[in-house]
């Protein structure tokens, strides 16, 4: 479903600020895979998400969605196949427009936009039904400006907006990080629900190890621009936070050793 092949990305190449954000990353997601991504700050997780979505172009490597090479496609074209929810709850919606207008824009994601009304009676009923499914009472506020919603409500709406059109790939980059614990849990549960309901192929970045363990069928760990550990299925089920921390220390140790070796 999604394939990254030998993807490398360097920021500020050939300057003192040079930063290799991705080093020869290879990753393959099958239809319906739900992969959680963990790793320390600056590991390259967001860069990988941006390379997949088309917000950034890699120096080398392929991005293949559904068997189609998309690495040269601009972001707006790729987003017909890919849905994403951002970390910032303000980023995924248009604040000066109403809930139903936001949903109408999201509804057009995988279609050609036309000169016909975005919100029709029929669509409004459909939107209402989808909003009911997230249990926040938003279905009674279709004409409220989204700017009036709380961060949690906006994030729930963003999540609904990208999922109800069933994207081929769903990208979630720390989408619960800006919320208080109870709202974060609500969004986490909602994520599990919608991903399950639509069977979406999902890549989710999180700093919450428990969340990374609880959700999804696969887990990858990134460090210093590389995927350093991968686990799936039953093996993932058996994993604990201690295991993860241990793995992380172990791998970071070797990478530190490598760096020294290079310097020496």
């Amino acid at each position: 479903m999604l394939k990254l092949q030998n993807v490398s990305m360097t920021f500020n190449e050939a300057t003192p600020d040079e930063k290799k954000a991705l080093r020869d990353v290879n990753l393959e997601l099958n239809q319906g895979d739900f992969v959680t991504v963990i790793g320390s700050n600056g590991a390259g997780k967001s860069t990988m998400m941006n390379v997949i979505s088309g917000a950034l172009f890699p120096d080398v490597g392929d991005v293949i969605v559904d068997g189609k090479q998309v690495v040269h496609l601009p972001e707006y074209k790729r987003s017909r196949l890919i849905g994403r929810v951002f970390q910032d709850p303000m980023a995924g919606t248009s604040p000066s427009m109403t809930i139903e207008e936001n949903l109408a824009m999201a509804y057009a994601r995988n279609k050609k936009r036309q000169f016909k009304l975005g919100v029709t009676k029929k669509r409004r009923d459909m939107f209402r039904e989808y909003l009911e499914s997230i249990h926040l009472g938003l279905e009674t506020r279709l004409n409220a400006k989204v700017g009036l919603l709380s961060g949690g409500e906006r994030q729930a709406l963003s999540l609904l907006m990208v999922t109800f059109t069933e994207p081929n790939i769903l990208l979630l980059d720390e989408h619960t990080a800006a919320l208080d614990p109870s709202r974060a849990e609500l969004i986490t549960n909602l994520t599990e629900e919608v991903v399950g309901k639509f069977g979406l192929t999902t890549l989710m970045v999180t700093h919450n190890m428990q969340q990374a363990l609880d959700l999804g069928n696969r887990l990858i760990m990134m460090d210093n621009g590389q995927i350093i550990f991968e686990v799936a299925g039953a093996e993932k089920q058996a994993l604990t936070i201690e295991d993860l921390l241990h793995k992380f220390k172990e791998k970071q140790g070797t990478h530190f050793g490598n760096d020294r070796a290079v310097l020496g």
């Binding site: 707006y76 987003s79 303000m90 248009s94 036309q114 990208v162």
Partner: protein, 328 residues
């Protein structure tokens, strides 16, 4: 007095089309587009020169809009493809248009006195209807002594402007229109929902300037001349209309906001007309009056809001105090 007010309303309705264009760029796209000063003249020039070349006035007015559309698209291209700051793209295009307008017109001023215009043609038909006699009769009964020479312009332009307003309302509610509005609100988001924001900005600024130029073409036909300098300060007049309209009539919904813009354009003309009747003010003071108007329209609503808030707080406090003393 009555006549100059009548004239102000007439002009206001024509300028309202320009103001709707400014609303599209400034408010909907959040793009401070200064092309307007140039594209207004482009519209006037293209309409005038086409009419002089024998093009039917209606068609000439459409040519004006088309020319404005191209100019706006160029500004949009400078900004999106050339990655030039929005303000600077508009200024560059405005400056370039000054020369282009002169080229189009051939000389700085064109007279349409001896040409047929859309309004002259309209009047020929209109005068056969006898509607003027009817309305002037009403005015006479109300005690007016001098009558407007024709009601045709005010009527037809009111219809044209309202049709453009309604089309704008509809357009902004279509799938494309929603994406356009989101482009002005949250580009990152609408791009992640598969909208090509570059194209939307280019076309949006194009349509905005098409309206501006269309208005310019009509103003030229209304005043029977086109002048290369007639666009100076047009952007501020457009902004004044938008801001005054919003302050007076609100902007809750799209339909309300566009209606406010039309209303604002008319109110602006009326205020300017009244101001010019003050003895020590003359036409040279127009720009200053406009600036003061815009400042007033921007500042007053905020001050009023702050005062209301303060009053509310004081009342609450007083109520609390009253309860306390009662308890004691």
């Amino acid at each position: 007095m009555l006549l100059s007010l009548f004239n102000a309303v007439e002009l206001g309705i024509i300028y309202a089309i320009m103001a709707l264009g400014v609303y599209l760029s400034f408010r909907v796209l959040d793009f401070p587009d200064l092309t307007v000063d140039g594209s207004f003249v482009t519209g006037a020039g293209v309409a005038a020169i086409s009419i002089m070349a024998g093009v039917p006035p209606v068609l000439a007015s459409l040519f004006a809009a088309a020319a404005g559309f191209i100019a706006g698209c160029l500004t949009g291209i400078l900004h999106t493809k050339g990655k030039i700051n929005a303000l600077l793209s508009g200024i560059l295009m405005m400056i370039a248009l000054y020369s282009i307008n002169l080229r189009i017109m051939g000389k700085p001023t064109l007279s349409l006195l001896n040409e047929s215009t859309i309004f002259k043609q309209l009047r020929e038909v209109w005068d056969k209807t006898g509607i003027d006699t009817f309305f002037n009769g009403i005015l006479a009964n109300l005690g007016a002594d001098r009558m407007p020479s024709t009601w045709s312009i005010i009527f037809i332009m009111l219809i044209v402007t309202l049709v453009i307003k309604l089309l704008t309302d509809y357009y902004l509610k279509t799938e494309v229109g929603l994406a356009l509005r989101a482009t002005g609100d949250n580009q990152k988001m609408i791009r992640s929902l598969s909208a090509n924001t570059d194209t939307l900005i280019i076309a949006g600024i194009g349509v905005s300037n098409a309206l501006v130029a269309f208005s310019g073409g009509l103003i030229a036909q209304h005043g029977d001349f086109a002048d290369v300098n007639m666009g100076i300060g047009m952007i501020i007049i457009g902004l004044a209309s938008v801001i005054i309209g919003e302050a007076l009539f609100g902007k809750k919904t799209i339909a309300r906001a566009t209606l406010a813009v039309v209303g604002g354009a008319i109110v602006y003309r009326i205020v300017v007309t009244l101001a010019l009747r003050v003895d020590f003010l003359d036409t040279g003071d127009m720009k200053l009056i406009t600036a003061i108007l815009v400042i007033t329209a921007l500042v007053t609503p905020k001050m009023m809001q702050a005062r209301r808030e303060k009053k509310r707080r004081l009342e609450k406090r007083a109520a609390l105090e009253a309860v306390k003393t009662e308890g004691a």
